[in-house]
């Protein structure tokens, strides 16, 4: 009998059977418990994969950008390997449950009555006839839930249903729940409503003017009687640099609104359970915002609500607001006592919108004698539609996200977002940065042309280095912009093609810059509460359950979290189970927007996983007698670094660690470091890291019809470190598709009567597979010092460069600058006809595409780019840790405030009186006063 069985259970049947002691007494048989866990389904332990262990810690993975704090947490298990997303099986077999797949017993169907008017006051609603209809179980109107909500705490301007006024065609008026859809649809025709028509506004320029009945009223903060929701003024630098430029570009752009075009329409199921708690099933990117808004609107404490995020059939920003229909379902369910399901028609999807803002953007740029960007003026007037949504942020992003990757002599931005009687604009992939980025990159192309230099060399000679600050105070850490530009130049044979191709064939360049997570969590101070929290639990069976609030919207956030946990614990990914669907079990998290998930959640997950790992290593220390510092984890085993024969299995260590405590629990959190300036709006655009990208696009233009076909794209994106290269490539290719839609065919068409004319997927023209070019995704890894294993975002940034790359390529093909997006064939055709008329040409085939003869500035720019390349390498690898701020290129000392060094330096968030006369469209919002100032004057 072994001594270690002392004190264990007796009377167990087992193979050993009973035995008779020497004194003749019979002792019952006993058996050790079988191990409760398993070590994964692969019976063979995999050898340590040195190709995926950084060279800095003894592996073979090259680290050209220098070492990383997470290198010693690498086990070569999954990070950097192309793996299928962990939820892909559910999706490809049709078993993933999306919003409309939720079926609860006894459910009834909710339908929403929508406004047929652009702008009207509801004088009365009579629901008598609706309530009398057999089969109708609940009716609700705006009066049932008068509390306002909104995605941003500063702009809560939405109601579950219109309380006083409807603000666009399709705005919610009332809702009804009935035993079936046909009854609910019939019931909608029985509302008796008295309307008072109001004068609608459709043109955002008109929104700047005073109106009898502004769409919303902000009291003493309301800007005169206009429909301006937000105005922004930002100025940095010395405007005198703008005088006597070597080259300049002024582009006035009109960009149509575009919609996310996600596959799954909005759908929601609400159910008040027997304990009176609300269970709300919804495909949400940010369940937490819905959670908060529901609490406000329903006047129920948050802990009495469980928001269940279903699988999300595409979001792209369009499912990140709390939505009124989610409130409606909850109200109807409460009234009827039955689960209520509301599923949108596509038309309703377009009416709730939250797509990219229709924009009028003016970009003026100047370059000085040395080819430096001395002046950089942006004016963005954006059309917000009927509600604020994310618009407060969008108003800033249209300017501030253009302050990199280039070093600027000065920066001047005026932005305004106006309410109009159209479906509300909001956040969409590349939030706020896409339109201005396009205008800026095309402006650079134009300046390069007038300076007779190659536009790629112009960019390479003006880049901010790694570990620097932008003119507005953003902290740039890793920066792979230069490598991205170099690699697309090489991959596309740029030097053989640019300005050398025949008429109708063109090539163009565009760059991008985007936040990797917003530095400011909207609803709380990051000093008081972290951005993201992850809980990990490991029980006897060895499986690792990860609780996170990160919402997988198809981008692979669940996979990313699973991967980093698997990497730290050296476990096969099948042993990691991510639970992220329910707010009851998920830590509070801001969900999936602003490209924050990989950076923030994976960082939190790494910390939690390290917590589990340390408990395992401590147990192994006790069992093996070697300190954790000399223990190595590899595929379900822990062994002594210098003698792998001295080892224990993961399960043995786990059970040892659990001996006293039961299941292992750990939590990890992420908060961004303090950063940024102190000026008004300094937090907008702040991020713990930024992604960079450069694309080259090749197009064919049919000069007779104006049809543009993008044939090839070389797409380089700096994502820091590709945790899953397959997923990163998918994001790059998907971004190209989405951006191509915006630049070539997609637009929300508002006709002469202000109605959205194409609220369906036939007339809203998302490119088909035939329009998709060959995309060559190129991953640049700059190893971000604060990113999880060096990673940064890859979901939104890759969209930005495709627009300007295509627009510049069209210019290269036909020699006509076009600034109306999308470049539908009629826009291109009209542009060509106008150009021919101006230049006295009769035939389209007489057009002459532009040619480039390098001017005197080309050589100095190339020389400067070469110097900067070495500068950047040293800074990236932290071999040069000197300070660098925007302005060093212009000869200033980075260690002293620029305002001390330069007399004309100005940092302002309001225009000077003498500036008012020269402001652009959006800037004109500054000609008006807020009500409180008007009162003061009176």
């Amino acid at each position: 009998m072994r001594s270690d069985t002392m004190g264990t259970y007796r009377q167990q049947p087992g193979s050993k059977g009973s035995e008779t002691r020497r004194d003749g007494k019979r002792v019952a048989g006993k058996q050790r418990f079988p191990p409760p866990g398993s070590g994964g389904s692969d019976p063979v332990m995999r050898p340590r994969d040195l190709d995926f262990i950084p060279e800095t810690v003894g592996g073979r993975e090259a680290k050209p950008a220098g070492d990383h704090i997470h290198d010693r947490d690498r086990t070569g298990t999954t990070v950097g390997k192309s793996i299928a997303l962990v939820d892909s099986n559910a999706k490809v077999t049709g078993q993933a449950w999306y919003g409309d797949d939720v079926r609860l017993s006894g459910e009834i169907i909710g339908k929403i009555l929508r406004s047929p008017h652009h702008y009207a006051r509801i004088k009365s609603i009579d629901t008598t006839r609706v309530e009398a209809l057999p089969g109708v179980l609940a009716v609700a109107t705006g009066q049932d839930a008068p509390n306002r909500f909104g995605v941003l705490p500063v702009t809560k301007d939405e109601h579950a249903m219109a309380v006083d006024k409807v603000r666009h065609v399709g705005d919610l008026v009332a809702c009804v729940a009935a035993v079936d859809e046909a009854t609910a649809v019939h019931a909608l025709s029985l509302f008796d409503i008295e309307w008072e028509m109001l004068e609608p506004v459709f043109d955002p320029k008109k929104g700047l003017e005073d109106h009898d009945e502004p769409i919303h009223w902000r009291g003493k903060y309301h800007l005169a009687r206009t429909n301006v929701q937000k105005r922004v003024f930002q100025e940095f630098g010395d405007r005198s640099l703008v005088n006597s430029p070597r080259a300049s570009s002024h582009g006035s752009w009109t960009m149509s609104g575009v919609h996310h075009g996600f596959t799954e329409p909005h759908a929601v199921v609400a159910h008040w359970d027997p304990n009176g708690r609300l269970q709300l099933y919804t495909p949400q990117q940010v369940p937490h915002y819905t959670h908060r808004a529901l609490s406000t609107v329903l006047e129920v404490p948050m802990h009495q609500i469980n928001v269940v995020r279903t699988f999300v059939g595409g979001g792209f920003g369009g499912k990140s607001d709390p939505f009124p229909h989610e409130m409606c379902a909850a109200i109807l369910a409460r009234k009827s006592g039955r689960p209520v399901r509301i599923t949108f028609d596509r038309e309703e999807v377009y009416w709730i919108n939250r797509g990219r803002h229709p924009s009028h953007i003016d970009v003026k740029m100047t370059a000085d004698d040395e080819g430096r960007i001395s002046g950089f003026d942006i004016d963005a007037l954006i059309d917000g539609g009927g509600f604020a949504s994310f618009g407060h942020v969008t108003s800033y992003y249209n300017g501030v996200l253009a302050t990199a990757p280039y070093e600027l002599g000065s920066f001047h931005y005026t932005g305004a977002r106006v309410w109009t009687n159209k479906p509300a604009s909001g956040a969409m992939r590349g939030h706020g940065a896409v339109n201005t980025r396009c205008a800026v990159e095309v402006g650079l192309d134009e300046m390069a042309e007038s300076m007779e230099v190659d536009p790629i060399d112009l960019r390479l000679a003006n880049l901010l280095p790694p570990h620097s600050r932008t003119i507005s105070g953003f902290r740039i850490t890793s920066n792979g912009m230069r490598e991205a530009l170099e690699r697309v130049r090489e991959g596309s044979d740029w030097d053989e093609k640019f300005r050398q191709m025949p008429l109708g064939k063109g090539i163009g360049i565009g760059c991008g810059f985007f936040i990797s997570g917003s530095g400011l969590p909207i609803h709380w101070d990051p000093k008081n509460f972290p951005h993201a929290t992850v809980h990990i639990q490991v029980d006897m069976d060895g499986g690792v359950t990860v609780h996170t609030g990160a919402a997988d919207i198809g981008q692979g956030s669940t996979t990313a979290v699973a991967q980093v946990v698997a990497e730290v614990l050296a476990l096969p990914i099948e042993m990691i189970h991510v639970r992220s669907h329910e707010s009851d079990t998920s830590p509070v998290d801001l969900g999936s927007y602003s490209s924050r998930v990989t950076f923030m959640n994976a960082n939190a997950a790494i910390r939690a996983a390290i917590g589990i790992r340390d408990q395992l290593l401590k147990a192994a220390w006790e069992m093996l007698g070697y300190h954790p510092n000399v223990l190595v984890l590899n595929d379900r085993r822990i062994y002594y670094k210098h003698d792998p024969a001295v080892s224990i299995s993961y399960l043995e260590a786990l059970h040892k660690a659990q001996a006293d405590t039961g299941a292992l629990i750990a939590r990890g959190a992420y908060r961004s470091p303090p950063m940024g300036g102190v000026h008004k709006g300094a937090a907008a655009g702040l991020a713990p890291a930024y992604s960079f990208s450069a694309y080259v696009a090749e197009v064919d233009v049919d000069v007779e019809t104006g049809l543009v076909k993008c044939t090839n794209v070389w797409a380089a994106h700096d994502c820091g470190k590709a945790l899953n290269p397959l997923a990163v490539k998918g994001q790059i290719i998907g971004s190209c598709h989405m951006g191509l839609g915006q630049v070539l065919s997609e637009k929300m068409v508002y006709g002469r009567t202000g109605h959205l004319q194409n609220a369906n997927l036939l007339d809203y023209k998302i490119p088909s597979v035939h329009e998709m070019p060959h995309v060559e995704p190129i991953i640049v890894e700059s190893s971000d010092p604060e990113g999880p294993f060096g990673a940064k975002e890859a979901g939104e940034g890759p969209l930005l460069p495709i627009l300007p790359a295509v627009v510049n390529a069209v210019y290269d093909a036909i020699g006509v600058r076009l600034r109306d997006l999308p470049l539908t064939p009629d826009v291109v055709f009209n542009g060509i006809q106008k150009h021919m008329k101006t230049n006295g040409l009769d035939d389209e085939t007489d057009l002459s595409p532009p040619r480039l003869q390098h001017g005197p500035l080309q050589a100095p720019l190339m020389e400067r780019a070469a110097e900067h390349k070495e500068r950047d390498r040293l800074r990236q690898r932290s071999e040069d840790t000197s300070a660098y701020v925007n302005g060093v290129l212009f000869g200033f000392d980075p260690n002293r405030p620029l305002s001390e060094q330069l007399e004309g330096w100005r940092e302002a968030d309001e225009p000077l009186p003498e500036q008012l006369a020269e402001l652009g469209f959006a800037g004109r919002a500054w000609l008006k006063k807020e009500q409180r100032q008007m009162e003061d004057d009176a």
């Binding site: 038309e347 006709g751 109605h755 609220a759 007339d763 035939h770 064939p825 009629d826 055709f829 009209n830």
Partner: protein, 325 residues
């Protein structure tokens, strides 16, 4: 989106179909014919002029005829292949209709009888309520046309079928069957310039098949379709041209997606006729065709642009015909 309920009928023969139609007319009950359903059913889902009865032609054997000179109304567009002996121009045109998936269901008859389209009309019910309806689907309000206001006599919705101009330039006729018997018309006479009436079909009458001349294979043709995307999209303008190689007098040109009907431009072609293709003033002819059509603003691209493109498309279609010679 909920389809309004309707009764679906499955007549097994032409006679049964015709008598069923006559019976419903007698009872004053409205109905629609359905072949592949890819046009009528989406409209039903949008509650655009739904009827209480729908008569399917699927079980009628004659409607499935498929040979070089005879194509039944039930033949799916995907079956218009060279292997089935179909004229190459029709194969080309069919391959440009909608998408692969839709072509499996969509039929020749359905494409020829396609409902005219207009962005004020092809919308959901809530949407159309927000514009107070339109002339074509006025829901009993007597609403005005939204494309050209202040004229509520004519609907100007656009015919956007791809097959019709191609059948026309090949000299096709259509066989119609109804309570009054059978009649055969040249395809160009089948259409009627009114976005609501669309064609000459009498109540209870349906298009059974298309008949092509015996010598149709001597003809060569070219179809130019203007659209933003190479899948799904209806034509924004379309020009078909055909001739018997070397015989200038055989030249035919037809257009689609520019008016409420597809149109065969026999007069214009006649005016510009030349003894040899090399002597034909292609530009003048293209301009004349452009001049003869007047698209209105009710499709995805602006009418001015679509009209400008008629010239280019005609030029390209003719170059496609004469190019190799």
């Amino acid at each position: 989106m909920l389809m309004p309920p309707f009764t679906l009928h499955h007549p097994q023969s032409i006679e049964e179909a015709v008598s069923l139609a006559a019976e419903l007319i007698g009872k004053d009950e409205a109905f629609d014919w359905v072949a592949g359903g890819t046009d009528v059913l989406p409209n039903y889902k949008w509650h655009i002029n739904p009827k209480p009865h729908v008569i399917s032609l699927a079980a009628i054997a004659d409607a499935h005829a498929l040979s070089t000179c005879e194509i039944g109304c039930m033949v799916p567009l995907a079956s218009l292949t060279s292997a089935n002996g179909v004229h190459p121009l029709l194969v080309e045109a069919a391959s440009k209709v909608a998408s692969t998936l839709i072509r499996k269901s969509a039929t020749v008859g359905g494409n020829l009888c396609l409902d005219t389209r207009c962005f004020w009309y092809n919308q959901g019910e809530d949407w159309r309520r927000s514009i107070d309806w339109c002339h074509k689907a006025d829901c009993g309000t007597g609403a005005d046309c939204r494309v050209i206001p202040n004229q509520n006599t004519l609907c100007v919705a656009t015919y956007q079928g791809d097959m019709a101009p191609n059948f026309m330039v090949l000299g096709a006729s259509v066989v119609l069957i109804g309570p009054e018997g059978e009649r055969t018309l040249p395809l160009q006479e089948f259409y009627q310039l009114d976005g609501m009436k669309k064609n000459v079909l009498e109540p209870g009458e349906f298009l059974l098949k298309v008949v092509l001349p015996d010598d149709v294979m001597q003809r060569e043709g070219c179809y130019q379709k203007l659209r933003v995307r190479d899948s799904w999209d209806f034509p924004e303008a379309g020009i078909a041209a055909s001739w018997v190689p070397g015989q200038m007098e055989s030249l035919t040109i037809a257009s689609t997606a520019l008016e409420s009907i597809p149109r065969l431009h026999a007069d214009v072609v006649g005016e510009h006729m030349a003894p040899r293709s090399s002597e034909l003033d292609v530009i003048a002819l293209s301009k004349a065709i452009q001049k003869s059509v007047k698209p209105v603003n009710n499709t995805a691209l602006p009418p001015r642009y679509r009209r400008s493109m008629v010239k280019t498309l005609t030029k390209r279609a003719l170059q496609g015909l004469f190019g190799e010679r």
